[in-house]
């Protein structure tokens, strides 16, 4: 192997390596902790995974907007914890960076019982707080069973029995 002894050649090769490395790093997949048993981020459709009973809870987040921040998914089996969004009492928590797709599955392999209520916050500024201005949310939000922007389901309305659920993210207008 002939060496590149000229300094200019060395710099050119180095810049090429840097750009190649950066490109490879940017295309490498990145999964959230809870999603280890899935095929990774999907693009607009539910994952084609056979969910036989006893294989956990899959939350399909749909309608994700933007590329920044993180999605905080809280799963509750207790009504009071759900109503207070008390993450200390949550049976499942996931914090996933927002990817490029508008849908993202989050899997909780151990959650086989139910009923579960799921709440999702799109923490756009990464401060782990759901930012509001008075009664007005400033960040994206969703819950199992919620069908419109103003919907804040009760535990009974949100509860699902496990398996798979789609949760729509709603954003401030």
């Amino acid at each position: 192997m002939r060496a590149i002894s000229h300094l200019a050649g060395g710099i050119v090769v180095t810049v090429a390596f840097l750009l190649l490395g950066g490109f490879l790093a940017s295309t490498a997949p990145a999964y959230s902790v809870a999603a280890t048993t899935t095929l990774g981020p999907v693009d607009g459709t539910s994952p084609a995974v056979d969910r036989t009973p006893g294989t956990g809870l899959t939350v399909n987040l749909v309608g994700i907007q933007g590329n920044t921040g993180q999605l905080i998914v809280l799963v509750f089996e207790d009504r009071l914890a759900y109503e207070a969004y008390d993450d200390n009492q949550a049976v499942g928590i996931d914090v996933a960076p927002v990817g490029k797709a508008s849908s993202q599955p989050v899997v909780f392999p151990a959650l086989n019982d139910g009923p579960y209520a799921v709440a999702v916050f799109h923490d756009e500024n990464g401060d782990f707080e759901f930012n509001m201005r008075g009664p007005e949310p400033l960040e994206g939000y969703g819950a199992s069973g919620a069908t419109t922007w103003y919907d804040v389901p009760t535990f009974e309305q949100a509860a699902i029995d496990g398996g798979s659920v789609n949760v729509q993210l709603f954003y401030p207008q």
Binding site: A3, Y31, S32, T36
Partner: protein, 301 residues
Amino acid sequence: MDWLFISLTEGELFAWEETIGNGFYVISIGFFAFEIVRYLVQKRFSWTLAGDSATNFLTQILSVGINAVAFAVFYFAALAFFHRFALFDISVTWTTVLLCVVLADLMYYWEHRFSHRVGLAWATHTVHHSSPHFNISVAYRFGPMDGFWPLFFHIPLVIVGFSPIVVLVAELFVLTYQTLLHTETIGKLPKPIEFIFNTPSHHRVHHGANEEYIDKNYGGVFIVWDRLFGTFAEERADVVFGVTEPLKSVNPFVVFFHGFTRLWRDVKHTPGWGNKLAVLIKPPGWRPSPTGVLRPQRAET
């Protein structure tokens, strides 16, 4: 292999770096104790050697202290500033951290080569090379501005898109890896390892004052960069450790500042302002011609 692609928080990554760093430190101290025993058994132990080792640890304290007080804020501010120009959007996973380590090692090669071939940078790096001994304690022999120059070579990594914390972790790993290379007790390793990685043998060559070993084997973790850029040398003749103009002192302050003391002396004795500036920029040992040259310039090979 999914774990290679799971998102890490920067806090988790830094905790791993601390753990690995502490592990290496513990291993190094244990290894150094073994080397002391070996010196005693070989009847090569002397109080000068002990003084040299003590000075090594003292220079580490001084250097780290200077880094913390003078350079750290500037370092983090600069990295944070340049991150806004990021070319690629790079998540933090073990895979991307590994990629960053490889690229950080490439940038380390250039920073290290710069430290040997530019007078002002050599003034701090010569401290590390100035011991006539070669053992693990030498790995901790640092100079006053050792923490300064790497910044400029890591800004490109941040511009490529790696997070500043990931870049810092990668850089620290590249340094940590090298601690265990500073020993005479480990001979050549199997050929595939010697081909790809930096090893004690390659690093002995780097620390050699022998003519054929000067300015060779700049690599951190990988020796491939030296093979690629023509600065590789195989260990053949026994290595004579130290710098071309030997340093006889084990006084920690004399050692720590001797690079700048000598640079000041050389600038002072060089006539002409253009030449004085050149002494700072050109390789160590450069003198304007024609003069009664005491230390001939080493050619860039």
